[in-house]
Symmetry: C2
Subunit: 357 residues, 2 copies
Amino acid sequence: MKIFSNEDMRRVLKMPAVIDVLRTMYTELGHGRVTNRLRSDIYCGTPDGGVYVLKSMDGVVPKLEVSAIRINSDIITWIPGAGGVRKEKVPAAPGGRWVGLILLFSTRTGEPLAIMPDGYIQRMRVGGASGIALDLMARRDAKVLALIGTGWQAGAQLLAACAVRNFAELRAYSPNREHRERFKEEMREELGRDIVLKDSPDELVDGADVILIATNSIDPVLRAEWIKPGMHIATIRSSDLERPVYDIPMRMILHGREVLPQDLITQGTPDLRELGDNESWHKRHDNIRWDELATLGDIITGKAVARASDDEITCYFNLIGTGAQFAAVAMKLLELTRGTNVGHDVPTEWLTQMEHP
Amino acid sequence: MKIFSNEDMRRVLKMPAVIDVLRTMYTELGHGRVTNRLRSDIYCGTPDGGVYVLKSMDGVVPKLEVSAIRINSDIITWIPGAGGVRKEKVPAAPGGRWVGLILLFSTRTGEPLAIMPDGYIQRMRVGGASGIALDLMARRDAKVLALIGTGWQAGAQLLAACAVRNFAELRAYSPNREHRERFKEEMREELGRDIVLKDSPDELVDGADVILIATNSIDPVLRAEWIKPGMHIATIRSSDLERPVYDIPMRMILHGREVLPQDLITQGTPDLRELGDNESWHKRHDNIRWDELATLGDIITGKAVARASDDEITCYFNLIGTGAQFAAVAMKLLELTRGTNVGHDVPTEWLTQMEHP
């Protein structure tokens, strides 16, 4: 049994490998051979007046002979800011650290295969799914990629896009110049390519073939006037698109049917703050029949059309994650580290038992 | 962070301590200050024709500053036998071992506190809850305890009963003489008391004040004719009681309201085989209003009556487990081992991260 660190993963597990295994997983999912248990969140008050949340999700991918459970154990606080109240996870574990774990099991023997923090994979699996969708949905001659956001998730979006297509120009914009500059440096190192930074969103999207959105803005960031025929758009939050965007005819594809946006509304958890208040969200989306949209599993298996013409506008909603994503990507890591000394060894018998449970 | 073994727990964590912490947990539960996520089971076929199941349940007990997730990763098979088809977990992990884990987290810092197999606690938490119920429900002058079953769970029932009350006579019966004899030996060692073995169930129950049932029989084992005024009965499966038992007026108390017996029927999992076919089960129970019964949390907080008179017959249904049971008992273990060298040390930073997940 192995315990991996985010640093181990950063060294070994690159975006092309993540996309490769996610393609297998989404194909299996599209054929109905993958099972996810949706994330469940238990919020509770703590004796000292804080808020604690335990989140978990499960996924089983029989073809990869793997199952996983992903666990988050977070201390939560709400911070008032310019854009409204923002939910923050407090790094309250020793050393000022956060707690998110993936446990991997074999479906052949049941045994625990590995335990690892979820940070690196969290970023890569979101980016990877977006990359697969982009490859299926964007025009074959797409040249210019525009990225709104220059944070932690934005980098993975770019890595994934470049893993599936050759873009002539990569652009990025975010409101803070310092953040943009830092992002450019990071991407030069991680991707080996030069990002063109833009000073305004209008400059960013002018002539773009693909717009990827990965911000933590509370307000919508994508304006309807920017959208041109043939574009491909992808976002990790439906609230990133301003209301008029939803009036533009476009082919929308969901990450999965496990959680539809309206479910997020009715779950009634503080996560809803991310979507703004319910009423305004409903007004923004009331013309969309979310439950009739095709999914990534549908288009990867050819059960649904990914793009019907070069003029069509396509939009991919890369919303809530699933256990099977973590299972598949973590299994790839295990495969890549087999026979190496990457990771800490823990005797498997520490985590198995002679007792019939 | 600690990794404990069942052997560590067997040495350190005795039934009185288990009952002590479970009393706190059930009191909190009764006051609505404990949250459980019900067990979810993902069954799937494996490429080699087997069946794999991933089960998980979560629980948070703020007063004890602890949350837990309990995971089972099992290879399943169905074995035809004298009593019908029986579901069996195959010990397919290396060394012929099973896989069930408890992960414990702090609700104050979020950090992982411990990981341990679930076998020992599984047995102790079932017994412990039964002991708490017995103490609240059995007549104060109960002298003779009769145990149906001499297996793994039966021992914990006896340990718990003896932890809360002083019985003058402890009796046990199971169909296999060899099993009975072995059980007597084990209990002499574990409990330090002599069990009176009986050759038939009729002899067993004659004059008994308390009947505890812990068998893996598929057929009902408790006959209506054995039940006398003032008796206390407890079972871990409602199917242990033959149909006419349900016609006898008695005060029935459930372990919890999280899962009612009828829910087990409608879950549609292979677990149902344990209950026999649905129709016959329904016929056996159609006169019981399960959802109106009081729970262990109700009687421990005094919100419901545990026993109204010395003549009343009381029956405790110690059905499906909850994450909070595992959280509470595992936390007790942690408390008892603090400052000792019990368990393997794993650096907490292996299972926490600098990445904001």
